[in-house]
């Protein structure tokens, strides 16, 4: 194995590490809490689907929510007990938004699911089984990234078709105070290494680099010793990297270990790298080799406000309060409160100042919790309860003096103070131009800012605003495309209609001309053959004789329909003409006021349109007249033959009506039995149907009388 050349990223800071406080004692087991709050959306992607119901008894390790979609993760019961509620609760997230949580009352037995307890789910030969089996297992066990973001591990491992050179294990743990990974490596190095072997098999990576900051010598030693225990070729190397925040940032660690940069907006696998947190590797090993789902994790509880800073194995869903109590959290009284003593202050600001600050995560990127009822998640690596002195609340920000310390500290080579000015003044385009999207929100800039400006907060706001702007832009772009398409379609339809109408008019004219010629010929012939009055009149009313010649009963209905249609068309055309005329008048009035060439064009257009529509009106009026005449003729010549069929018709209707009544009656009796509220409505309906029946019977009787 060739030695690893370390690279370096620009910027970075060296905040006080404060890690020794929580590494004095081994990882403790947290006593079982009385109640667990298990959110079903702890990961990036879709929240899982709850598959149990309130009142169900669940066993430890039992699936309580199934992954929904590809990017999702299963959620398991962290202990045995009873599901008492499935409700919306505040999630431990910087947004403070609510999410579905399964509330489980622990029964104190902590009883495993049978198949996990007896080891039947364990895959002993995990390096020989199919990758698919492993991925499915990782997915079923709900393994997600435990370093922070909580990305489903099975999704990250789905790298088929991509050449992966390096698997990078993030064990840098660069945030001050946090020691969860440190302690995990000290105590569970072998499990972590075996997990890494599984991940190497899945990604077919050529080599694996475990990046650990040099402030964790015990962890480095433990990992190296564990590596010696692994048999055969493994291509795994523990790499000691210099302590510098944020070397544990995925992009920064990749740069340190490989010298490569993840392209902006891209993911590591695009440069042949997959990155995983070391804690995740241990969880993967437990899932595969022991069949145990991710229901607990190691969390650091530290800060001056707790008596015993330490690392604790804690069940997912454990309320933070339980953890704080375990570590001996004492609420610090502010100086102000101490001075006031027992006096009750009405000053609200002083009471808010005295509220303690509880941070989930580290002091650089962690977020404050609004209350202590929030649960520990799969990604909660630290609960930090600092004293006021330890992490004083920020002073009032003073003016930016462009000192450029932030530029020196930025690990992404951004210009933080330019971004600040742009964010502050809402010049989002410039903020984008200055690559605000590449900001990893590590907080190094705020840390060094002498003016105590909450820079990251400005960037978060600007990023949100940019996202919103893009969404709005996209939406308006889409609607513009839609609108234009619709406009095109409408124009096309009008054009098509015009074309059809003109074609019809042309054929009609031709037909008429042909008929006239035929009539004239007939008249001539008639005149030749002998004097008849009929022939002379037929030239005036060409439709009438032909209509009369056709079979009557069918035609009459059709004619009536045609007439209706023609009349409707006529009305439409006339409306349109009136409209155009009005518009033309209006525009001509305007012409007088302002002589614009565009108006002239407009009125020209209008006149053209008017001509077209007036022609249409004329055509349609002719047609209506023609049809009216035809109908009149048809009625005159047609005897009332319709009634011959009605006897059967009426009988049919009568039977149908009776059927209907039967059904309604059935429903009515059913409703009566059940005492349903629909009873009056049914009664009414039934009455109506009966009346109709009577009417029909009367009709039949009348018909019979008439027939006889």
């Amino acid at each position: 194995m060739q030695p690893i050349t370390l690279h370096s990223f620009d910027g970075g800071i060296h905040p006080q590490e404060n890690k020794q406080q929580s590494t004095q004692s081994p990882i403790a087991q947290l006593p079982l809490p009385a109640q667990l709050i298990v959110p079903v959306g702890q990961h990036i992607g879709a929240p899982a689907d709850v598959i149990i119901a309130v009142g169900d008894l669940v066993l430890k390790g039992q699936v309580i929510a199934q992954p929904k979609g590809f990017v999702s993760a299963a959620i398991h019961a962290p202990t045995s007990g009873k599901v008492v509620s499935i409700e919306q609760r505040e999630l431990p997230h910087s947004s403070g938004l609510n999410g579905t949580c399964v509330i489980i009352d622990a029964d104190g037995q902590d009883q495993w699911l049978e198949e996990i307890a007896n080891g039947s789910r364990a895959i002993a030969d995990y390096l020989d089984v199919d990758n698919e089996v492993l991925v499915t297992r990782i997915r079923d066990c709900g393994i997600t990234g435990m370093g922070g973001a909580g990305f489903p591990t099975s999704v990250k491992m789905a790298v088929e078709g991509k050449q992966i050179d390096s698997l990078i294990i993030n064990a840098a743990e660069c945030e001050p105070y946090i020691t969860a990974d440190d302690m995990l490596m000290r105590e569970r190095a072998l499990e972590a290494i075996r997990g890494i072997q599984i991940l190497m098999k899945l990604t077919s990576a050529d080599n694996c680099l475990i990046g650990i900051e040099d402030n964790k010598p015990e962890a480095i030693k433990a990992m190296e010793e564990a590596l010696h225990k692994v048999h055969g070729e493994h291509h795994i190397t523990v790499v000691t990297i210099p302590t510098k925040y944020p070397s544990g940032g995925e992009k920064q660690l990749i740069k340190i270990l490989t010298g490569k940069e993840v392209p902006s907006g891209g993911i590591p696998s695009s440069i042949g790298i997959v990155c995983q947190n070391v804690g995740t590797c241990e969880a993967v090993y437990r899932a595969v080799a022991e069949g145990k789902p991710l229901i607990s994790r190691i969390t650091t509880i530290t800060g001056e406000s707790v008596e015993q800073p330490q690392n604790v194995e804690v069940l997912i869903g454990t309320p933070v309060k339980h953890l704080l109590d375990f570590a001996g959290f004492k609420q610090e009284k502010s100086l102000f409160q101490k001075l006031l003593g027992s006096f009750n202050s009405s000053n609200s600001s002083s009471s808010s100042e005295s509220k303690p600050r509880i941070i989930m995560g580290g002091p650089m990127m962690g977020f404050t919790l609004s209350n202590d009822e929030l649960p520990i998640l799969k990604s909660s690596n630290c609960i930090l309860a600092p004293s006021q002195k330890e992490l004083p609340a920020n002073d009032i920000a003073s003016a930016c003096i462009r000192c450029g310390l932030c530029t020196e500290a930025c690990p992404a080579d951004l210009l933080p103070q330019q971004l600040y000015w742009f964010s502050k003044s809402g010049e989002l385009d410039k903020a984008e131009q200055h690559n605000i999207a590449d900001c990893i929100e590590c907080g190094a800039c705020s840390y060094v800012c002498p003016s105590q400006i909450p820079l990251v907060q400005y960037y978060r706001h600007a990023k949100g605003a940019i996202k919103e702007e893009h969404a709005t832009q996209q939406k308006s772009d889409r609607s513009r495309v839609r609108f234009e398409a619709r406009q095109d379609r409408l124009d096309r339809e009008v054009a098509e209609k015009d074309a059809k109408r003109q074609a019809r008019a042309a054929t009609a004219e031709k037909a008429q001309a042909a008929k006239k010629i035929a009539a004239a010929k007939a008249a001539e012939e008639a005149a030749k053959n002998g004097p008849t009055t009929e022939g002379a009149s037929s030239t005036e009313e060409p439709g009438a004789p032909t209509a009369a010649a056709k079979p009557e009963p069918v035609d009459l209905e059709q004619l009536q329909k045609q007439l209706d249609a023609a009349q409707a068309g006529l009305k439409k055309s006339m409306d349109k003409v009136a409209e155009i005329k009005a518009a033309a008048e209006a525009s001509s009035n305007q012409d007088g006021a302002n002589e614009g060439s565009s108006n002239e064009e407009g009125s020209n257009d209008a006149t053209e349109h008017l001509a077209v529509f007036e022609k249409a009106v004329a055509n349609r009026r002719d047609k209506v007249k023609l049809l009216a005449v035809q109908i009149a003729e048809a009625k005159k010549s047609a005897p009332p033959v319709i009634k011959e069929v009605t006897r059967e018709d009426i009988e049919k209707k009568l039977r149908a009506q009776q059927d209907r009544i039967d059904k309604t009656q059935q429903r009515f009796t059913l409703a009566q039995e059940q005492g349903a509220e629909t009873l009056p409505a049914l009664q009414k309906g039934l009455d109506k149907q009966m009346q109709k029946l009577k009417e029909l019977e009367a009709d039949l009787a009348q018909f019979d009388k008439a027939g006889v």
Binding site: P15, M365, G404, E432
Partner: protein, 380 residues
């Protein structure tokens, strides 16, 4: 239990603006000591006068602008401007010159642009340039002669006392009373000015034999001055500046590029010492070190990108040389800095660094939305 809600990061390095300003002020102390040693009390009195004026102006205008005066006064920025002006102005400048320069700097150059952090031009240099243009006589004839060139005094009954700086009380009366005439004995042109004027008629060898440059005439001292004490003043400011660099108050870019550009220009042209001021005088006399380390590095008005800082500093260095050599003014730091202040925003626009994960740096103004979407699709 409810907790307080604050966004990350929660840790802070503890640096403050007032600390930065204070450190810069402290770093001027070696230079001030050297100035006082060689040229007397004038600059110290100027500094005190300027500080009082600056704080008063700042307080008044903050009051008018309805800003919390105590909060802003504590940031030491007004004090720094005052100290720099007190150092830069001639030691025997009349009191009202200092007051005009400082009040103009505070009110017009700083607060009318929005106060600390928002001023495009270095306030101290705006004040300096104003009085330099407005009162050229007072600004050029009130420079001090180094103590070793002042006449020896004979106190009756005692031995001959070698040259001394003007006494404190005399200096006070010169500065504050227009009637008290400044004698030629204590005033004299700066080495830069002297050389430039003499170079019209004399050769380099002749000039350098003059009292300011070759100190043989001053008898008592064994040291070998070459620029009338100004070289020590400059070295003292250099030491202060290097201390600030070590404390990471600013980066090396600006001072280095100012000195490099000025040095390069003066070496290139200095081949003919009969016509041009030699490079050693450019670097070690006048306000060179003060300008390079204390004035050009004013972060508010300087360029902010790493490459931009180099361009900005080089521009100042070149302009200092150009104005000193061909301009009408004895020194040029103020104008050079102000001219580059104009350019700083433009320089910043075109010198963005390459961000992590990008193939190359994006530079220039933001492109139009259409272009931007095209670009991003190409990148994607």
């Amino acid at each position: 239990m409810a907790f307080v809600n604050i966004t990350s990061p929660h840790a802070h390095g503890g640096n403050t603006t007032s600390r930065i300003m204070l450190l810069v002020i402290l770093a001027t102390v070696p230079g001030i000591i050297a100035l006082t040693y060689f040229f007397g009390w004038g600059n110290l009195i100027n500094i005190v006068l300027a500080s009082v004026t600056a704080l008063a102006c700042e307080a008044i205008i903050l009051k008018i602008r309805k800003r919390p005066a105590s909060f802003f006064l504590k940031d030491n920025s007004a004090l720094l401007t005052a100290v720099l002006l007190g150092i830069a102005l001639p030691p025997f400048a009349p009191w009202w010159v200092t007051v005009v320069a400082v009040s103009f700097a505070m009110v017009f150059a700083k607060h009318l642009y929005g106060g600390l952090g928002n001023n495009p031009f270095n306030p101290a240099m705006v004040g300096y340039a104003l009085v330099l243009i407005s009162f050229p006589v007072q600004m050029t004839t009130t420079w001090a002669t180094p103590f070793f060139l002042t006449p020896d005094t004979l106190i009756p009954g005692q031995a001959l006392i070698a040259g001394q700086v003007m006494s404190f009380t005399d200096t006070i009366s010169v500065i504050f009373s227009s009637s008290a005439g400044l004698t030629d004995a204590f005033s004299g042109a700066t080495p830069l000015d002297t050389y430039k004027h003499l170079a019209k008629n004399e050769t380099a060898v002749e000039i350098l034999q003059g009292p300011l440059f070759a100190n043989e005439t001053s008898g008592g001292s064994a040291s070998n001055w070459f620029a009338g004490g100004w070289e020590f003043v400059n070295i003292a400011f250099l030491i202060g500046g290097l201390a600030l660099l070590a404390l990471r108050i600013f980066t090396w870019h600006i001072p280095f590029s100012v000195l490099a550009a000025l040095g390069t220009c003066s070496v290139l042209f200095g081949w003919d010492a009969d016509l041009y001021v030699p490079w050693s005088l450019h670097i070690f006399t006048g306000a060179t070190m003060l300008g390079a380390f204390f004035i050009a590095t004013d972060p508010v008005t300087a360029s902010t990108t790493p490459l931009g800082k180099i361009i900005y500093g080089a521009g100042i260095g070149i302009l200092i040389f150009v104005i000193r050599t061909w301009g009408a003014y004895p020194d040029a730091v103020a104008f050079a800095v102000l001219l580059m202040n104009f350019a700083a925003p433009l320089i910043d626009t075109y010198t963005q660094p390459r961000t992590y994960g990008h193939d190359k740096a994006k530079r220039g103004m933001p492109t139009k939305p259409d272009d931007a979407s095209n670009n991003s699709s190409k990148e994607g």
